[in-house]
């Protein structure tokens, strides 16, 4: 189910400011790839280019190739809507739909895509909530508003919601930065579980988190991919001086 993604000379600019300056990267399936780097290094911009979220920012320009499987997602005839069914995304702060119930939050997308109906839809809700380790906490109040959940629960609901469209790739933009340590721990455990079935890309500015959860790590700086490799190697024996400076905290 999981697929790999490859970027070739990916550039993103906003007006005359170039935020991502030509990145070549290979994202492996069934693994967690972490993207680290200081603020403003272009890591979130890069991530959002992977499911074409920049389409909705009028000043944004994207060039280069992003291959999902063997198809360029920026190529002709690729429908961003279809793409986003295959590449899901979880945001920095939990953003459940406040006007919908927990259940409706999850069924919103599958219903639109015609993925399931009736009993199958109920099963889907249960399955993704279990996957997101939220089922036991909410099974008795699926009809309640999502606003009543704690921050950590809301974020797991958002993950479940993203899983409900059966994506191949899951993009996560600092998914735990707005959460307390306990909730963060649960999200990290969840990521570890999910990588069995999904390709996961996670942006984080927390290096310990990157070291804990990821198999591969990419270090971005000033819009460039400075170093990319297996997490163990990158953290213990970085090739680039800038990487070493960053991960040891001697930066700026």
């Amino acid at each position: 189910m999981a697929e790999q993604m490859i970027t070739r000379d990916l550039k993103v600019s906003f007006g005359d400011h170039q935020a991502v300056k030509g990145v070549d990267m290979e994202i492996r399936p069934r693994a967690v790839t972490a993207i680290i780097g200081p603020s403003g290094c272009g890591k979130t911009t890069f991530l959002r280019a992977l499911n074409r979220m920049h389409d909705h920012t009028p000043s944004a320009r994207v060039s280069g190739e992003v291959l999902l499987g063997d198809r360029d997602i920026y190529g002709d005839g690729v429908d961003p809507v279809e793409l986003r069914i295959r590449v899901g995304m979880v945001f920095q702060r939990p953003n459940p739909f406040p006007t919908m119930s927990i259940r409706d939050n999850i069924t919103f997308a599958p219903k639109r895509h015609g993925l399931a109906k009736g009993k199958a839809l109920d099963d889907l809700v249960e399955r993704v909530l279990r996957q997101a380790a939220l089922w036991d906490e909410v099974k008795d109040r699926l009809g309640a508003s999502a606003v009543g959940l704690s921050g950590g629960q809301q974020q797991r609901l958002c993950i479940a919601r993203a899983l409900a469209v059966e994506p191949r790739v899951l993009l996560m933009d600092e998914p735990a930065s707005a959460l307390d340590p306990t909730a963060t721990q649960r999200i990290e455990d969840l990521i570890y579980e999910l990588k069995k079935d999904y390709t996961i890309v996670i942006v984080t500015h927390n290096m310990q988190q990157a070291a804990r959860v990821s198999d591969y790590t990419a270090f971005f700086y000033m819009g460039l991919l400075v170093e990319f490799g297996e997490t163990d190697g990158l953290f213990t024996n970085p090739r680039e001086e800038r990487t070493e400076a960053y991960i040891t905290g001697r930066f700026g």
Binding site: G15, H17, P38, G40, G42, T44, T45, F91, H205
Partner: protein, 235 residues
């Protein structure tokens, strides 16, 4: 806590100062959050708590200022240390004003005799959310010495200004069309203005942190330059 300060090393003093400022920032942030919560729930007790909390905040500012002045006098710090001390003074001053705006919001709770219809004016809570995020992130930038994050905080101010403008327009239309709503409308206009000022102060703190870390000012720069949605999105 004013043990033999003179005896301590400047480094320790600065660390202490930093932690004091962070504590003050935490309180300022809480006050804004509490004030908005008091408004949403029309909770007068909570509003009173904000007013009490502001006194504490004022006291903290005085304490920090005293500490800064004695550091300046005793150690005559230079370069980065000097920058740190002057910026801490400025930031604490801004935080104190954040508290005042929190109090203004809390006081509007008393003017309202029922829960304000905030779901009809989603601008208010959105402004509050962004303004709080700006304060939190600019202090985060302070802790991480992250100039880019500080700069990104400043960019979010536009959204708050836009929301305040939008809130103001809506409320004015309501007042013109149905004068019965003038009371509530004017209270909410006041709340909007205060939240906008909190966001401005958040911007000030961001600018100060930027200066602190880089030594250059973005305060009166013509254009901050466009930054992608990394942080400008307000989340």
């Amino acid at each position: 806590m004013t043990a033999p300060r003179e005896a301590r090393h400047l480094r320790d003093e600065l660390d202490f100062l930093r932690s004091q400022l962070l504590e003050m920032a935490g309180l300022a942030e809480d006050l804004v959050e509490m004030a908005v919560a008091a408004l949403v729930a029309n909770d007068e007790e909570k509003a009173d708590a904000v007013i009490l909390g502001d006194r504490e905040l004022d006291a903290m500012e005085v304490e920090i200022e005293d500490a800064c002045i004695s550091l300046l006098a005793l150690h005559q710090p230079v370069a980065r240390d000097l920058r740190l001390i002057t910026m801490v003074m400025r930031i604490s001053n801004d935080l104190e004003r954040v508290g005042d705006h929190g109090v203004n919001i809390a006081e509007s709770v008393r003017h309202l005799d029922a829960k304000p219809p905030l779901h009809r004016f989603p601008q208010v809570e959105e402004m509050a959310r962004i303004a709080q995020g700006m304060l939190a992130d600019s202090l985060d930038a302070f802790v991480r010495r992250d100039p880019e994050l500080a700069r990104a905080v400043c960019l979010r101010d536009d959204r708050v200004d836009g929301l305040n403008d939008s809130l103001f327009r809506s409320l004015l239309t309501h007042m013109m069309e149905d004068p019965r709503r003038i009371g509530i409308a004017m209270s909410l206009i006041l709340v909007g203005r205060n939240l906008e000022r909190v966001a401005d102060l958040g911007t000030n703190v961001g600018e100060d942190v930027y200066y602190l870390v880089t030594g250059t000012s973005i305060k009166h720069a013509q254009k901050l330059g466009e930054v992608g949605p990394d942080h400008a999105a307000g989340g």
